[in-house]
């Protein structure tokens, strides 16, 4: 029971392996994927309140991990639902595509439960390698083959980050003589006066910086977002970020009051991520690239919550990343639906969307306004909580810089809304959202609004998750 979601995922992957051997129609593969996704989600719900330690202390099942598993499964289901047509993936490789997607999710779920350095590493690699293969699976009919470039870039940067992480882990093992996180935490807390401990922790963090796309491990983002198919990008932009945040929190809780140097580094990374992401997003023409850069900026905000090293700060970061994933999924839903044959969507392709499809325009509009942090949506509440938390810890300058970034960010979000709402279609076709897509988009809109208007319950939820882990 404690291991049910992971077993379900494993089983699902095997089913896809079998499906890939037969010659199945696209519809059937699609239905199987959605069904299995729902099963996985159900499994996470079933094992929601479990608690135990498995595999000789390498694997901890607690509220923290189970909440994240549920969120990961939920986000995956949403991606499966609105990306079910897989316009950018050739018919032949769809079962394989789903196989790797499920394996990647399996890796992510294992990641949030791992409390041992080696299992963290294995889980992270499992999730990454599957995605490395998903990226070049895009079928662009030999046009630019940019998916290959994206795949290679993703792989190389990923391997580099992993190298950093492994190196850091070896330091940690050298310093503490253990790979078990509980033991490591206890021993390393006495060692923060030594530079080696600081370097070790920072290097381990690098691996998750890469997943969350925080400066200086963000370089892969724009090209991979652009090169991967829309559905893959939707997946990369949402699901792994949940797990990465969970792991960042897990690692950062290792740091105690003497690790101020690490906090300073995190601060610099947060500010640079925000400025780099927002300033680069200003000039983008491809909406996926723009969302990629905006994702870097949002990762900086998440870090703002984590670096306060307070229970509320972690809870705010979780609240924020959940909100971010929902808002991002809302935007990607629109991108995937607007894109006719899986091609990339330029910002100007969204011209007159409010006439071509009012619901999609509303989804995009609210998603972007929420990302920009305009109340009453979740983006505002999240930012506000993060700023409050950081100011309570006395980071006034950091808060002012973050506020300035909010003002910069509004420009590019608004320019997309402007295109969607204030321009004419100029002969572009109407976009038809199927009823299922419409239902998903309305559900996402409701979540964005409800989380923004009555955040208390969600905050309690996030707080209980964190306190379960501490």
């Amino acid at each position: 029971m404690q291991f049910l979601p992971e077993l379900t995922l494993l089983g699902a992957s095997l089913i896809f392996f079998l499906v890939s051997l037969t010659d199945s129609s696209a519809t059937r593969v699609k239905n199987i994927a959605i069904l299995l996704g729902a099963l996985v989600f159900g499994a996470t719900l079933l094992s929601y309140c479990q608690e135990s330690i498995l595999f000789y202390g390498a694997y901890q099942v607690d509220l923290f991990s189970q909440i994240f598993k549920t969120l990961i499964a939920g986000a995956m289901c949403v991606v499966l639902l609105f990306g079910r047509d897989l316009k950018g993936i050739s018919n032949k490789v769809r079962p394989e595509y789903y196989l790797f997607m499920f394996i990647s999710v399996l890796g992510l779920m294992m990641l949030v439960s791992s409390i041992e350095l080696m299992s963290i590493f294995v889980a992270l690699e499992l999730s990454s390698f599957a995605v490395y293969i998903m990226v070049p699976m895009r079928d662009d009919s030999g046009r630019f083959r940019m998916q290959m470039e994206a795949g290679i870039k993703y792989l190389l940067f990923g391997v580099t980050a992993t190298g950093f992480m492994l190196f850091g882990m070896s330091y940690i093992y050298g310093l503490t003589g253990s790979t078990q996180l509980p033991v490591v935490i206890e021993k390393i807390s006495l060692l923060y006066t030594q530079p080696a401990a600081v370097v070790a922790v920072l290097m381990v963090l690098a691996g998750f910086f890469y997943k969350l796309a925080i400066f200086p491990f963000h370089f892969w983002v724009p090209d991979v977002y652009e090169g991967a198919s829309n559905e893959t990008t939707a997946f990369i932009a949402s699901v792994p970020k949940l797990a990465a945040t969970a792991m960042l929190i897990r690692i950062v809780t290792m740091i105690n009051g003497e690790g101020q140097v690490i906090v300073n580094v995190l601060m610099v990374c947060a500010v640079l991520s925000m400025f780099y992401g927002n300033l680069s997003a200003l000039v983008q023409k491809d909406i996926k690239r723009m969302l990629g850069f905006s994702g870097i900026a949002h990762a900086g905000f998440v870090l703002l919550g984590i670096l306060t090293m307070q229970l509320t700060g972690y809870a705010n970061a979780i609240y924020y990343i959940i909100g971010y994933v929902v808002m991002n999924l809302a935007c990607f839903l629109v991108i995937c639906t607007v894109s006719k044959d899986g091609e990339n969507v330029l910002i100007e392709d969204l011209s007159g969307l409010h006439q071509r499809s009012p619901l999609l325009a509303l989804t995009l509009g609210i998603g972007l306004f929420a990302l920009a942090g305009i109340p009453p949506f979740v983006g505002f509440m999240g930012k506000f909580m993060l700023l409050t938390g950081a100011l309570q810890e006395g980071y006034l300058l950091l808060v002012i810089l973050a506020a300035i970034n909010t003002a910069i960010a509004i420009f590019y979000y608004l320019s997309v809304v402007r295109i969607a709402y204030c321009s004419d279609p100029e002969g572009r076709d109407t976009v038809i959202a199927t009823p299922l897509t419409s239902v998903v988009s309305v559900a996402l809109l409701l979540i964005i609004t409800i989380m923004g208007v009555i955040p208390q319950r969600f905050l309690d939820f996030a707080t209980s998750a964190v306190s379960a882990m501490l």
Binding site: I374, F380, F384, A407, I410, Y421
Partner: protein, 508 residues
């Protein structure tokens, strides 16, 4: 929480007023028929206006506390509450909002031809947000509504606006948002300093250090001065006014601009009194600059909407002048002038909109000499123009008189510097009036133009009624605001006394 008075008979009246338009907007989401959308929105706004009469008739004029208060915990972990209440400073603004909205709906009746339901939804959401801003007593609630209203207003300008609507709407949005991000930082700082409370009355009259006060004042000033808009932050206003549809212009002029001055009164004065005193001269001279600048630019405009927009800059300059002379006459005049400006400028935008619906041009040239064919129209226009430059017997005269009286009390030089503004106002309004009514020898052929229909008369008549009511008998209006203004100034002066006493203690 002793600053709140809960009314025994109407404990939930403010929430009802706020949420009624929102509920109306939700219903419209499911409506396909355009004519139903129009009547429905009109019904909802009229109902809100009628309900708001309860506020005036039950308003206790003898207390400076927040009345009709409601208080519920909203976000517990941060101690954010849903607190509403109105006092003398806000009641007239609430009334102005509820009464201007039905007129906006009527003004959009034929003007808005495409996508009627979304437009009406925007109008209703605007009403909710605007009422909420004037009623909110929790700073976060205030901030949320203050920012949230940008979205419907942006869409109103951006979708239904004129040819340069995209430029105007983006400029409006960016300016206002950029101005208020530092306000958020200020709010959080106040929260932290006050031991974790966003309750606005708790933040007032506290002993913050002077440096902190100056920083806070700067944050307030940036947010509110852009909204007012004060010279030199006014450049978004002409663009937004000109491109917005009539209803949008009216809402902008009548209500949105008042939020800036309301912000000064509600936040800047009570929260940062020392900084206010320190920076007062600069703000006063900026106001004078705005008055003169607005007057001269208005004089040169060929576009009627632009003319009125620049006149707004001048009029709002008078309002900020009245607020920052910090005496009873000045502030009462300022509050009254906010209402007057809402009525008169709103009416003038409606008048321009009516011409625009006929000629499809806002150029003064194409509207010359319509007086011959539109006698009813020019009668209305004449009275509103007279009111706009403060002709005795009209509403603006009372407001400007009080403000100038307050300014003279403060400093003769300052008051004398503001006088040319009043003269300029007469010059540009009479120029416009003369051209529209009579024009010259080269008038375009206007014989095909029809005079106002019943709907349009119904829009303008109530505004004219208030022009004369406030102009001839302003006492009931002043009674509503007097107690709160006196209390605000009393506290301001006693705070200063305390501060001086404290410094003396340290010195000795």
């Amino acid at each position: 929480m002793d600053q709140l008075l809960i009314h025994p008979d109407y404990p939930r009246i403010l929430s009802t007023l706020i949420f009624l338009p929102l509920a109306g907007a939700l219903v419209l989401l499911f409506v396909k028929k355009e004519s139903f959308a129009r009547y429905w929105t009109l019904g909802i706004t009229v109902l809100t206006a009628l309900l708001s009469l309860v506020l005036v008739s039950n308003f206790d004029r003898a207390t400076d506390k927040f009345q009709f208060a409601e208080q519920t915990m909203w976000i517990k972990s941060l101690n954010i509450q849903y607190v509403l209440g109105i006092d003398g400073i806000s009641i007239l603004l609430v009334m102005l909002t509820t009464f201007i909205m039905p007129l906006c709906v009527l003004a959009s009746w034929n003007y808005i031809k495409t996508r009627v339901q979304p437009f009406m939804i925007c109008l209703l959401i605007m009403e909710t947000a605007m009422l909420g801003v004037f009623m909110a007593l929790d700073f976060i609630l205030f901030y949320i509504l203050w920012e949230a209203m940008l979205i419907p207003m942006y869409l109103m300008i951006g979708i239904w606006g004129g040819p340069r609507r995209i430029y105007a709407s983006v400029k409006f949005f960016l300016y206002t948002l950029a101005g208020s991000v530092m306000l958020l930082v200020g709010i959080i700082w106040l929260y932290k300093t006050n031991g974790g409370s966003f309750f606005i009355p708790d933040m007032m009259w506290q002993e913050y250090t002077l440096t902190a006060q100056v920083m806070l004042f700067a944050a307030f000033f940036l947010a509110f001065a852009i909204k007012v808009p004060m010279f030199p932050f006014h450049t978004w206003l002409p663009a937004a006014h000109v491109e917005a549809p009539t209803a949008g212009s009216v809402i902008l002029a009548s209500v949105l601009l008042k939020m800036g001055t309301y912000g000064f009164l509600r936040f800047a004065l009570p929260i940062t009194p020392e900084a206010t005193l320190l920076l007062m001269p600069y703000v006063l001279w900026l106001s004078i600059a705005g008055i003169i600048y607005g007057g001269f630019t208005a004089l040169a405009q060929q576009d009627m909407k632009k003319l009125i927009a620049y006149s707004s800059v001048g009029h709002m300059g008078f309002v900020t002048l009245g607020i920052f002379v910090l005496n009873v006459n000045g502030i009462e005049g300022a509050i009254l002038q906010m209402i007057n400006h809402g009525i008169t400028t709103g009416a003038l935008f409606l008048c321009v909109g009516m011409i625009y619906e006929r000629t499809h041009s806002r150029e003064l040239r194409s509207a010359t000499g319509v007086g011959k064919y539109m006698p009813i129209y020019v009668t209305f226009l004449a009275f509103f123009s007279l009111s706009s430059f403060g002709f005795p017997g009209t509403n603006s005269f009372v407001g400007e008189f009080l403000i100038l009286a307050g300014a003279f009390e403060h400093s003769t030089t300052l008051a004398l510097a503001a006088i040319p503004g009043a003269v300029l106002a007469a010059a540009y309004m009479l120029r416009m009036l003369q051209k529209i009514v009579w024009g010259g020898t080269d008038n375009p052929d206007q014989s095909w133009i029809t005079d106002l229909n019943l709907r349009e008369i119904v829009i303008l008549a109530p505004l004219l009624f208030f022009v004369f009511w406030i102009g001839l008998g302003p006492q009931p209006f002043l009674d509503l605001i007097h107690t709160s203004v006196v209390a605000l100034l009393d506290q301001f002066n006693s705070y200063q006394g305390q501060a001086i006493a404290a410094t003396e203690l340290i010195v000795h």
